[in-house]
């Protein structure tokens, strides 16, 4: 008999009954996973990053399996924000699913436009701002790799969206100084951080002797990057202990989720693991609850960042 654990969590002023979320781009708009479990069973559905216009994305092949990981190069294929708000969000809310909308843009202005449209949509729990996108106004330099551009994106979203909807800024690990980027976006108004987006990688097809992916480079995800995610979360939590982190990167079991939580995550997104197992999020949730109970935690929040506690005298 283990004690029940209060699994609820908050990101900014948004409350969730449990800390397990889908990862943006790894659950489409939610309908497909709903064949496998009721979406209201998880903390929230984080939807695929949506842009202002419909988009085809990148050419195929869009994926390559790598050792304990995979590369993807989807290129933000999607219906555009209007169709998304008209069809996908209402459907999710009907399922009693909590919804975090992920937005992506090519200009600072596009992010603000997206925020404006979200502002008038009701029922959304939070907005995740995916800033790992190339900035067309600055030689395609990814926003998240440029401290100034990331700050300006979040600032624009904050100003447009008003004070209520929590903003989760999603950062890329492909930077020299992640805590500095994190501080910048928090100063600009982010209520929480999502860590980590995929790591830039490439596979060369040894038969064609060219890059395997249609988009040449791709984002590395899955268990292979878990140690990078843990490090990123630990570093950022050390620098900004008060800022809630939505942790992700290679989580496939309750033990993985616990690692990220001990490092400082208040919520966990499960991405790639759902590709191998559509029930992964539910299983991770249940395993996490048991692991927390076995360690004597009565609430999830007691475990958040617990690996940072000072050394006991031995």
């Amino acid at each position: 008999m283990t004690m029940p654990v209060d699994m609820s969590t908050t990101l900014g002023n948004a409350w969730f009954p449990n800390p397990l979320f889908t990862a943006s781009g790894c659950a489409s708009s939610g309908r497909e996973l709903a064949q496998f479990f009721p979406l209201k069973e998880i903390g929230a559905v984080v939807t695929k990053s949506v842009m202002s216009k419909p988009r085809h994305g990148r050419p195929t092949p869009r994926m390559a399996e790598t050792p304990s990981g995979m590369l993807n190069s989807i290129g933000l294929q999607g219906p555009g924000i209007d169709a998304f708000l008209a069809h996908d969000v209402p459907w999710l809310l009907e399922q009693k699913s909590r919804v975090i909308v992920s937005i992506a843009g090519e200009t600072i202005e596009e992010y603000a436009t997206l925020a404006r449209k979200l502002r008038s949509a009701s029922g959304i729990s939070a907005v995740e701002v995916n800033i790992s996108c190339p900035n067309v106004e600055n030689r395609g330099l990814v926003f998240a790799c440029d401290p100034d551009a990331s700050r300006r994106v979040i600032d624009g979203v904050r100003k447009t969206i008003g004070g209520d909807l929590p903003i989760i800024a999603k950062l890329s690990p492909d930077v020299t100084d992640l805590p500095a980027i994190a501080k910048g976006v928090v100063d600009a108004g982010a209520d929480a951080l999502a860590l980590i987006n995929t790591v830039l990688g490439m596979v060369i097809n040894v038969d064609t002797m060219r890059p395997h992916l249609g988009g040449k480079t791709g984002g590395l995800s899955g268990p292979a990057i878990k140690p990078i995610a843990v490090r990123a979360i630990y570093q950022v939590h050390a620098a900004l202990p008060k800022v809630p982190i939505l942790g992700m990167g290679g989580v496939a079991s309750g033990k993985d989720a616990l690692e990220l939580i001990l490092a400082g995550a208040s919520g966990i997104s499960v991405g790639t693991a759902s590709f191998g197992n559509p029930h992964a999020i539910i299983e991770v949730r249940d395993q996490l609850q048991q692991l927390l109970a076995a360690r004597g935690f009565t609430t999830l929040s007691q475990a958040v960042g617990y690996a940072h506690r000072s050394e006991e005298v031995m």
């Binding site: 781009g25 790894c26 659950a27 489409s28 309908r31 497909e32 996973l33 064949q35 496998f36 695929k48 216009k53 419909p54 988009r55 085809h56 994305g57 990148r58 050419p59 195929t60 092949p61 869009r62 994926m63 399996e65 050792p67 304990s68 990981g69 995979m70 993807n72 989807i74 290129g75 294929q77 249609g214 899955g222 268990p223 496939a252 790639t272 693991a273 759902s274 590709f275 191998g276 197992n277 559509p278 029930h279």
Partner: protein, 281 residues
Amino acid sequence: MATINKNAVRQIVTVLSNKRVGAYHQILLSVGDIVKSCRPGNFVAISVGGAGSRMILRRAFAISRTSDNSQYGGTMELIVAPHGSGSSWLCAQPEGTEIDILAPLGTAFGIPTQPINALLIGGGYGSAPLFGLADVLKSRGCKVDMLLGASVGSKIYAPMEGKRSVNSLKIYTEDGSMGETGRVTESLLDIVKDRNIDVIYSCGPMAMLRAITEIVSVTEVIHQCAVEESMACGIGICMTCVLPIEKEDGTTYMARSCIDGPVMDGAVVRWDLVGKVPDLL
């Protein structure tokens, strides 16, 4: 889409037998009640490599045949080519191994309500789902002809019992080691005309599906093809498996071959754009 995969189940199943047949492995799985919801054209996604494997993604295989009998309960047959590490692992699993499957997935071949003249065309292991389809079509009173092609004879999969369910079977190999020398598309237009074909059902390499579509585009024949794109999830959540599809209004969108397929109408696939990105919407 809303109803696709609604019967999909994840289950640990047992390998009943694993036999080499030419270049392929014929793998029989004991899957219980899953067979009740499997339709010709559906596929199964299989975890490979066992616990602790560095392969994190499932592999997709067409469901070749299913049956439900008193001795073994529901069984599902797969025809697997050892290609890379995952399919080779599967081909190496002996009788008794437990494997983790997710099935049935994806769209199925459309079955006509009227008796029609059907031509089934398979390339390589693409013939696998066609024999089960032939049974269903025959039971609906259809006339079923079949063309199978491959590079070499060992890559023709045409089991004895399968042959019984078709009215005629013609085999082509590129090296002439079995049947006629050449490709299934060799005299396709003639066959279609001579036999008054209403619907072509095909499964095989993308180049074959494209060639069939182009050849029959001058006819009224409907071409239902089961496509094969690299898939990360198999259940519609990753967007890796997309194909360009032409909508009625002439615009093109990227459909997911796992959930909007694998069975698609060949005529709406923009074969010329596969592996490319269509013009902006």
